[in-house]
Symmetry: C2
Subunit: 155 residues, 2 copies
DNA sequence: CTGTGTGCAAACTCTTTGCATAAGT
DNA sequence: ACTTATGCAAAGAGTTTGCACACAG
C-alpha cells in the first residue's frame, strides 16, 4: 500500500505508457483512461480493486469517479487489456495480462499475491469439453497462516 | 437445470445423508439445514448459488428464506463442509468438498464445470510465502467456444 | 464542431443483520 | 424449559446506469 504514485499522467504529458495501450486498443485517449492505464501498467502491481485505482489516482491528483473507474476497467477488460479476477465476497479484482496467471490467495486478508508463470507447470491437464478450447489457466493457491491455526476447522 | 428434486427432507424422515453431515460437524439438525445439506451432498451437482438452493428446495416443498440459505451456507463453509467459489460479477457459488478442486469456467454463461482431481497434476509448484502454508489449490481453466476465435490471444 | 467520455446520483443486485417467533434438545 | 435457528424486512456493500456537461479529435 506504499506506492510512490509519481505517475506522469498530467494532461500536458502526451505519450504515457498507458496512452500507447489505449491507442493500440483503439480507445480514445482521455485523461481518466490514461491515468488508469498508467496505474495498471506502469507499476509493479498486477491486481487492483476499483477502490485502489481510485486511491492511487487520487494521490497523483487525478480525481476519478467510481463510475468512470468501473466503466473503464470493464472496457479495458472487454478489449483484453486486463482481466477480472474472481474473489469471493470482496470487491472485484482486476489483473493485468491475459495469459496464464497464477496467484496465492490469503483468504483472511482477501489478499492476492502473484505467482510467476514459470513457477507452475502441469504434469497433466484435462481435455476441454467438446466445442470449447482452453482460453487460459488460472491457478489459485489458497494460503493459511502456519503459526496460529486460526481457521478453527476442528469445531 | 432439470434436477429431479425428489429429496427426502421431510421432518419425519430422521436420518438423511445431510443429517449425518450436520451431526458430524456439530451442527444442530434443523429442517432447513438438512434440506440444504441434502441438496448439496445428495445430488450430482457440485456447485450452487444461493438462488439455486432456494429453487431446488422449493421444488421439494421446502420454502427457505434467502437469509437462512446464506446463513447456512456460510455456516457450512465455516465448518469446512463446503467452500465458496469465487466467480466474478455473478452471485457467489458454493462448492462441496474442501480438497483440491478444479473447474472449467465458461465465462459467457458464468457456468462452472467440475474437473476430477486426478485429471490435473502438477510438475512444479511454488513455495508458499514465509508464515503460510498451502491450504488447497484451485485450478480454473477458462474456456471459450471454438467456432468464433473471439479472444485473439496469440501472445 | 460533433461525438464520445465523464461525473454525479440514483437504481440495482447480491448479501448480511436485527429482532420476534418458532423449532430443536 | 431453555437455547438456538428461522424468517421477514430493512440495511449494507459493490457495481451499473441515465442524463447533462465537458473534453477529444
Amino acid at each position: 500500500m506504499q506506492q510512490e504514485a509519481i505517475l506522469q499522467t498530467d494532461p500536458c504529458r502526451p505519450a504515457t505508457a498507458g496512452a500507447k495501450l489505449l491507442d493500440g486498443a483503439g480507445l480514445r485517449s482521455t485523461r481518466p483512461r490514461r491515468a488508469i492505464a498508467d496505474i495498471l501498467f506502469g507499476r509493479s502491481y498486477y491486481h487492483f480493486t476499483a477502490d485502489e485505482i481510485f486511491a492511487v489516482a487520487a494521490e497523483t491528483g487525478q480525481r476519478l469517479s467510481m463510475a468512470t473507474i468501473y466503466n473503464t476497467l470493464n472496457e479495458f477488460a472487454a478489449h483484453g487489456l486486463i482481466r477480472r479476477l474472481a474473489t469471493a465476497g470482496g470487491p472485484a479484482q482486476f489483473d493485468i495480462g491475459t495469459g496464464d496467471h497464477h496467484h496465492f490467495h490469503v483468504e483472511a486478508d482477501n489478499r492476492v499475491i502473484d505467482i510467476e508463470p514459470e513457477e507452475i507447470a502441469f504434469a497433466r491437464l484435462p481435455e476441454p469439453p467438446q466445442g470449447y478450447r482452453i482460453a487460459n489457466i488460472d491457478v489459485m493457491i489458497r494460503l493459511e497462516p502456519v503459526g496460529p491455526q486460526s481457521t478453527g476447522e476442528i469445531a
